[in-house]
Each structure stands twice: as structure tokens, then as C-alpha cells.
Amino acid sequence: MSGVNGEEAPGPLLLGVRHHGPGSARAVRAVLEDARPDVVLVEGPPEADALIPLAGEEDMRPPVALLAHAVDEPGRSAFWPLAEFSPEWVAIRWALEHGVPARFIDLPATHTLAWQGEDGRDGGGGDGTDPATGSAEGDRGPGAAAPGAPDERSGAAPGEGARPAGDVRVDPLRVLAEAAGYDDAERWWEDVVEHRGVGKGDPVAPFTALEEAMTALREEHGSGEHERDLVREAHMRLRIRAARREFGEGVAVVCGAWHVPALRRRATVAADRALLKGLPRVRTDMTWVPWTNRRLSRASGYGAGIDSPGWYGHLFGARDRPVERWLTKVAGLLRAEDRIVSSAHVIEAVRLAETLAAMRGRPLPGLGETTDAVRAVMCEGSDVPLTLVHDRLVVGDALGEVPATAPAVPLQRDLARIQRRLRLRPEAAERELDLDLRGETDAERSRLLHRLRLLGVGWGEPAVSRGSTGTFRETWRLRWEPELSVRVAEAGVWGTTVLAAATARAEADAVAARGLAEVTGLAEHCLLAGLSEALPSVMRVLADRAALDTDVGHLAQALPALVRSLRYGDVRGTDTGALAGVAAGLAERVFVGVPPACTALDADAAEEMRGHIDAVHGAVGLLGDAPAPGHARLRARWQSVLRTLSARDTVPGVLRGRSVRLLLDDGELARDEAARLMGLVLSPGTSPADAAAWIEGFVGQGSGGGLLLVHDERLFGLVDAWLTGVPAEAFTDVLPLLRRTFSAYEPGVRRTLGELARRGPGTRGSTAVAPGQPGFAPGLDTARADAVLPVVRLLLGPDGEDEGAGAGAGVTG
């Protein structure tokens, strides 16, 4: 084996890499093939040593991640993602293929997780339930080494990045790149390392050069007073020493390039031991979990710090001519999406990319050049198809797989714990469960079942409650099928606790949802499941969808559900501030959209629109006048919309009549004015069809049936007065249309109306009696009405409104 450092006896083979660098991975493979070490040591948590053999199994497919989590607190976890092109993965696979032992040498996860708990105070996920920050910090944050610098820059490591450790430690790559005159560190690294094929020469040479650079850097800037790094490096040195005692000199170490000088340095065992003394511990467990390319990319909260896993995978996988192969792939994708891309396009794109690289002084076209070429040649300058290329190829949809023999994911443990706590045993036999949501345990059970449903774990199905119909009751049908365990394992990719996983899943679902109604439903579900953290994202998506939806009908349909959620959320004590804002915004959009949408409608469309208007009216009533800051006077604005509708001739009669009626009911329209409008519509100048439609809208079935006419003297008077005023010749025209409206009433209502009509206007007494009994006194019998008051007050509560009760005789429906 060839010594990297000439002057000493053959030391361990230290291979400093950039995590997730395809060029590093190639170089590592070449060195291992060449040097054939007796043991391979890899930067990573030693607890995972037992899991290494799993990496060689058939159904293990990267990207995967090593997951460490605290046994008692599954939310506290750390991930070590590995892609096919990660040097660590390559090293492990090489060792497995050649029957050479492989070991992890980094500081045990038991300490890093304990540190993470200490840092919890300054991170967002203090309670350990937030996998996004928790894991990203654990992920290479404590462990990651220098040239994996993007790891550090992904910014999700509050405990690490915020410290005044010096810029170098944060991003040594940048310092090197600046020294080389590059403004972009990634690009410099790609030019110098990744795009350099493995040459014919000494495979170790690049590592030697990199080590020299890192040594110079660490000398120049100090080792970055990063205590934890020193501790980790001490541990690595001890492990290397142990390996050398066991295997002799054939030891190869794959670690972040930043650590190489420290591992090369000679330190006494005693000093290293001293550093490792008294570290905090927490009981940890490790397993493999499947990972995705999307999560490798920086855009997501779990970021492993690489922008373009798909591109790196391509660079690693392509035998030769990476640019040509890549552009052919792009062309294939665009063709599959029905864009016309010919081979000539590919040829021109390759030429452009190569010339661009020459112009920019780069040895080979990189992702930037190929993207520019694709945009100019294949996409006609447009960024829209380019987004597709970025999504499908540059990032890629690769989804990892883990063998079934991998240890259980923490989500399963979390679920088991919750099941124990809530005394809700998974049983194969079907049974019904009645929950009273007023009790804390039952409320939690309900939330758990709702969350599991969101995660696709259909343990409980909501059933119709027997007997009680109160909103505080829920009935579930429970049945635990064996395959649900598999579902739970699958859901493990979403998070380590049920709450976190359901939150992540809801957020992802919201983004993927197609229709507005789907998102509204999801919002309702989030409230039921008590996922208040997912609610803001869902609401954001909902607001976006609502803003872009041009169909007022969709908006009008979404509004009532949203308002319902709002009120239900109040019952459950969820914070519904965001919801209220979105609902109010939605209402405002409806207000703007309704008037133009109400013109030029045929009878069916008008009928449908009437339903929408009724729904919105009800929702606005429930919503209150100022549900959220910045959305004042909603009711007044809705009324002005209704007024606009009632006065516009191009709006169908049924909608105009309905608008007048709603305004009248709200007391916003004087009775005289309503009468005038009705007279106007029912005058001979208006076509009989339109007039009848107006009446239909005004007192038709959808408006609450004839009961309102029965109970409301004013309305009855209006219709009665109009009917008697209709000229004889017009009456025959109007009759069939009126018949259609009134014949839809229930028989009892019709009879009462007939009675009322026979008695004539202004002679009605109390209507609180069953219909069909004529002969009321003309006036109000106050003594008898007073007698009712105590009962009414009892019914309405101690502060019973005297007003309402006093008018008891005139109580309207």
C-alpha cells in the first residue's frame, strides 16, 4: 500500500472527501482498488457498525439514511444520508464486496444526540418533536466535515452555525475557492475535483493535494475553536489506533477532508481519552431508513446540502461523455412531455454547452452550462420546461429502499408508546369506539386516529354515531390489520413521531393537492387531527389556490367548509387565526367575483348560483363582521354586493329575488323598497317568466319554504298586496308560474296560507299554534303571553333576553 505521506512509515490511508461528491466517490473507489486495505473506516456513528452488512443486501437501494434516535424520545433524532455517489457508501460497498470489515469511527450518536438535547433550547424543535430542525442538525451537522461545506451552509444547524467559530470552519471550501479566484465555491470544487475523471496516474495524488490544502488552511485559520470537532477527531484517532492494533497497517479511512490534518496529527492516547471524558449520553437506537433525492437536495428541511443529487448521480453513473449523455436524457424527458426535441437540438445544445464552458474558462461544461444550453436550444428561452428538467433530472425522484430486516423505525415505537398511554390496544377484531371529546383522553384518542388516517394508516374509520348527534361525540370502527405495520414503517419517512409525521404529510399533501376543495378538506382534517403546525402551510396553499381559481363557484363552495372548520376549531380550542384570515380573504374574492359571474346565466346555472349565494350568505353570517385583522365590514360589503345584484337587469330574476329577500331578512332593505322592487318586477313590462323567477327566488322553496310566508306577516302582506293588484289580463299569464312556486310547498303550509289569505291582511294573531285552527283574537293577549315568559327564560338561559321573550307572540321561525 502506498503511503500518502512520504516521510513516515506507512500510516493509515487517509482519504479526505467531500460528502456526497461523485468525484470524491470515484477517487475513493480507485484508491481502494489500488491499495486493497484490510479494513475500511468511515466517518459515521459506531453504533451503526452492526447495520453495515444490511448495506450489501439485494433490496437495499440508495438513497438511504442512517437514523439515530433517542430511545425514550423518538423526536430527537439524527440522519446520515447516503446516496449512491457518496464516498462513504462507495467505501462501505467496496468493503462488503471484498469481504473486508468496515467500521464507523465518528463520535457515537449517543453523545451527539445528547448534545442535540442540550442545544434544544436555541433550536426551534426544543421539545424534540420537530424533525426538520432536529435532524438537520444531527445530519452531518455535528459530524459533517469541511468540504461537505454545504452541509453547514444549509443553515439548519442553529447550534453550530451561529457560533463564532470562524468562517473557515463554516465553509473552508469557500476560502479555497476564493484563493483560486472563483466566486462560487461549488463550482470551484466541481472544476477541480468532481469533473476530473480518475486519471491514469497515482490515484492517491488528489487526496494528498487536498490534504495539503486543508493542512495549510487549518494552520492559517486555526482549527476553528470548535470543541466538538476536537472531541470527534479525538474519538476518530482512538478508533483508528484500535484498528491499526487489530489489522496492522492496511487501514483506510474515509472522512471529511477537513478532518484529515487532525487525524494525521500525532496525539497521545491519554490526551484523546481526556477529551472524551464525561460526555453526556442518551440511550440511542439506530436503523436504516429509505431516503429520497428530494431530501438530499438543499431545498428541503432535511437537506444533505447538495443542490443537484440527480446530476451528481449522473456524473457518478455515466461511463463517459457525461455532457452528451445528460443532454440526451434531458431531450428524452422533454420528448416524453410532448415537446419537439430532435437529435439536432441535442447536438446544438452540446456545442453551446461546450463553447460556454470554454468562454467561462471551465474544463468541462457543468450543470450551469448545460442548463443554459438546454434553455436556449431546447426550451426556446423559457424557464417553464426547465423547471421540469430541474425537478425530474437535476434533483430527481429516486426513492431509496431498505430491506425488511432493518430494525424498526422510531415512528413505530412512538405509536406503541401512545397506544399504551391511551390504553388503545391494536386488536385484529373489529370493534366500535365511542369517544367523548370533552374528556382529555378521548380527545387525544380522536386526534391519534385522525393523524393515522392522514398518514394512510387506516386503523380506525369514522362511523356514524348512534344516538347522540352532538359535535363532541365521535364514533370509530377500529380494526388492526397486520399490513398496517407495513404502512407505519412506510410512514416512517415522514417523521419520527406520529405528530411530526402527520404534520409533514399534511404539508406535502397540501402542496400536491389538485383542487381547492381538496385543500379545504385537508384543512378540516388538520383541525380534527390537531395539527396546528401544519395549518399555516395548508392555509398558505389554500390562499394561493383561492387566488388563482377563477371559478366563483369553487370559491363559494370552499367558503362554507372553511367557516365550518373555523367554528369547529373554536370548539376544540385550536388557534384559528390563520384560518380566519384565509376565510375572510376568500370571502372578499367571492364578493368581487360574484357580480360578473351572475350575468348571462341560463335557468340551471342560475339555480346553481342561487345555492352558492345562499351558502356564502350563511358563511358570511357565521364569519362575523371582522374575523381577522385587515378584513373589516365583511357583512356590509356582502350586502352591497347583494344590492348590486338586486338592481342589475342582466342578473337572472331568481338571483335578484333572492338578493332582495336576503337583504330584507337582514333588515337592510326597507319594506317599502322591497315592495317597490317587487312591483317593478311584476309589472307588465317584465316578461312573465322573469317575474315568476323573481318570486321563486324571493319566496321559493330554496328560500326556506312557505313557512316563512306563514310566519312573516310582512312578506305575506307584500305578496298578497301584489297578487290582488295584478290586473285581470296579466293574472292569467302569471298564474301557472305562481302555481309552480306555491305548489312546491308542503300541504300544511299551503293550507295555512289559504287560511291566511281568506282572513285577509292584518288580521293575524299568534302563529305559534298548529296550522289549520282558525279563529284567533285580533290582538295580543298580554296576560297569557306573560305566563309563558318564565319557561322561555329557562330555555334561553339565565340572561334570557327579555326582548325576544316579550315578543314571544310574534316569534318568527
Partner: protein, 385 residues
């Protein structure tokens, strides 16, 4: 740099009539050509440029990019930036010209397409005058060649009787030709470019001859991508171009700056009285335009529908100019919300049905609630009523 072209140039086609009118007294020209206005910069670049140059290029691609983007040369000469925008765009454009692909510059009006194409031609070929202006009435002769009928009748068909188009001259001399507003040209005339761009040759069947392009020939076309010219490019022609889309200004500040500067220039030439403190109103107009164009509010928190109109920077300029005229002649001399409201409405509502809803929605959900925008909200409500 491979530039494939005909083996030998045909004799230059510089007809008697073509060159006479090009050299007017440049000092008196209302607007000198780019190569004259920036002759000193071009000379300084050429003197210091030691990188390889493609055939018949005056400068290397690096120098051309520097000429457009600005910079300071080794000898201290300052090159003014001609184009303010992403570096990537200029690099792709220059690289396209260096390969033998034609360049198509797309963008909404007012994104400096013509300006970029003129300066590219000036830097690459030292001549930006080989220009075909595309119109609905552009004939095929403007792209290929025409005839001097007096000569044709007197001497019969010959090269002497031929009147070469700018494109033909560029081919013969290995220069950069420019076609403005390509999508305004009728489709059948556009198609005459296909042979020129793919075969790099221009047949003259009347004489049984052809003109083959000399190395260094290339073509820059500009077109409007937003309001889709009358004649969309056929895919056969489109395939011959590398397309570069010139974006609208990236930051609000840059756009406000452009609008303010242009408004001031236009105002001076129209002799409008100077209006103080218009910058706040300009900022609001630019904000409205950007938000509606991008379909999202400036704080990035609320989605919006976008209207069908272009809402380019050029239109923002005209809204402000119109508002200034109103303020100066009919108002109190200060640019106020009321002066720009009508212009805004006119610019946004192009389609009376759909755009009006978009605009109303924008007013009700964004303008109404924004601090300090009450006056604009009221003015727009009045204008829209």
C-alpha cells in the same frame, strides 16, 4: 470555434447604390450608431484582446461580453456597461454567435432587445447597420435581394442589376446581420430565412448562381414574446435559433430607476413642467405592475391573478408620463394617485371581462389593506366605477 461555411467567398455584393448613404456626417447624427458612439471603447478592447477570435470577428467572445457588461481593462480603460442584467444572458448570446447558430432575442417590449442586438453586432462585426426592420409588409426582397429595374431592362439580368439585401451582404462579407421584430414578418417571408440559416447559402435562380455565407456570418433576430406577434415562428425556423429571453428588471429598485429616468427624459422632450416628488408615485405604479405581472405580492405572501396585458416597464413609463401630463396641465402640479389611476386601469384592464375581475380583486385584497395606499384605492375605485 467551428464556423462551417462555403469554401470561398463569392465576390462581394456591394452594389453601387448600397454603400453611398451609409456614411453621413456622424457628428451631426441625432443618434450615432453604436460602433461610432463607443468607437474608443471598442478600439481599446481590440488593442488589449489577446484571446482567440473566431473568423472575421473584431473581438474575442470574452471581449464582446466585457463590452456589453462593462468592466475595467488592464490599461485602466473603463468600459461602460451597455446591458444591465444577468451575466448569463450575455454569455449565452455571445457564445451562440460564436457557434454558427443564429440568435433570437425574446422579451416583452422595453427589455432592450434591439439595444443588445445593435451592440452585439457592433462589437462582433464592427457594423450594426446591416438591419432588416420587420413589419407586416416586409417583402421577400428585404431578406433576399431585389432588382434595379432600370438596369434589368437595359442590360438584362446580371449581378449588376441585383440589389442585395442586408442579409445577403452580411453573408458575402462574413458580417452580423440583424432582423428586428421577426414575428411581425409574414410567415412566407420568414421562411426564406430557413435556407439561409441551415444551408448558409442564398440561391439566385434568375442568374443560376448563389451566394455562400463566408465564415463570420451570423444573424441576430429580435421578437416579442408576450403579445405573440401576428406570425408565430414555424418550428422549422425556430429550430435554427438559440433563444435568449431578456428578462424584465430583477429588482423593484432597478425598475423604479429605469422608469424615473425615462420619464424624466420624455418629460423634458415634451416640455412638461418639472414635477417634484413624483418618485413615490412612480414606486407605487412600479409595485402595482410588478405584483400583477409576477402574480404575487411584493412581500411574496399573497398570490394574485395576472391580467392578460403585458405590463412591461415601457407601459409603466407611459402610465407615469400620462399622469405627469394630467398633474401638470389639470392638477396642482404634483403627481398624485388620481393622476395615475386612470392610466393604471387602462394598462391593466385589456380584456374588459376577465381583467376587470383581476383588477377589482387586486384592489380589494391588496391595495385596500396596504398602509398609505388609501388614496390610490379610492382613486382607482373612482376611475373604475
Amino acid at each position: 470555434m467551428t464556423v462551417s461555411a462555403g469554401p470561398t467567398p463569392v465576390d462581394p455584393m456591394r452594389g453601387g447604390s448600397a454603400s453611398a448613404n451609409t456614411t453621413a456626417a456622424t457628428g451631426q447624427a441625432l443618434r450615432p450608431h453604436a460602433e461610432d458612439a463607443f468607437a474608443a471603447e471598442l478600439a481599446a478592447l481590440a488593442a488589449l484582446d489577446d484571446r482567440p477570435r473566431p473568423a472575421r470577428w473584431r473581438l474575442s467572445p470574452w471581449a464582446v461580453a466585457t463590452y456589453l457588461l462593462g468592466g475595467t481593462l488592464a490599461d485602466g480603460t473603463v468600459i461602460t456597461p451597455k446591458y444591465v442584467g444577468p451575466r448569463r444572458i450575455v454569455e449565452v448570446a455571445v457564445t451562440t454567435l460564436a457557434t454558427d447558430r443564429a440568435l433570437l432575442l425574446l422579451g416583452v417590449p422595453g427589455t432592450a432587445k434591439t439595444w443588445v442586438s445593435e451592440h452585439l453586432a457592433a462589437a462582433v462585426s464592427g457594423d450594426s447597420t446591416l438591419l432588416v426592420q420587420g413589419t407586416a409588409g416586409t417583402p421577400e426582397e428585404a431578406i433576399r435581394y431585389g432588382w434595379n429595374y432600370a438596369r434589368l431592362l437595359a442590360h438584362g439580368p446580371s449581378r449588376d442589376a441585383l440589389v442585395a439585401s442586408p442579409v445577403m451582404r452580411a453573408m458575402a462579407e462574413g458580417m452580423t446581420a440583424r432582423v428586428e421584430e421577426l414575428t411581425r414578418i409574414p410567415a412566407d417571408v420568414q421562411d426564406s430565412l430557413i435556407t439561409i440559416l441551415s444551408e448558409k447559402t442564398l440561391p439566385i435562380p434568375e442568374l443560376g448562381q448563389e451566394v455562400q455565407a463566408v465564415r463570420g456570418f451570423n444573424l441576430i433576430a429580435t421578437a416579442n414574446d408576450r403579445d405573440r406577434g401576428v406570425n408565430d415562428l414555424s418550428s422549422a425556423l425556430r429550430r435554427r435559433f438559440n433563444t435568449v429571453v431578456l428578462p424584465l428588471p430583477e429588482t423593484p429598485e432597478a425598475e423604479v430607476g429605469i422608469v424615473a429616468r425615462r420619464v424624466e427624459q420624455i418629460g423634458r422632450s415634451l416640455d412638461l413642467p418639472a414635477v417634484p416628488d413624483g418618485i413615490d408615485e412612480i414606486r407605487r405604479v412600479v409595485t402595482v405592475f410588478r405584483e400583477l405581472r409576477d402574480g404575487v405580492t411584493a412581500d411574496g405572501r399573497t398570490r394574485l391573478k395576472s391580467p392578460s396585458g403585458t405590463l412591461s416597464t415601457a407601459e409603466a413609463i407611459s402610465v407615469v408620463t400620462g399622469g405627469l401630463a394630467l398633474a401638470a396641465h389639470f392638477g396642482d402640479g404634483v403627481l398624485r394617485a388620481g393622476d395615475v389611476a386612470a392610466g393604471l386601469l387602462g394598462a391593466v384592464v385589456r380584456d374588459p371581462a376577465a381583467d376587470r375581475v383581476v383588477w377589482q380583486e387586486y384592489l380589494e385584497t391588496v391595495v385596500r389593506e396596504r398602509d398609505g395606499w388609501k388614496d390610490l384605492y379610492r382613486a382607482c375605485r373612482e376611475a373604475g366605477a
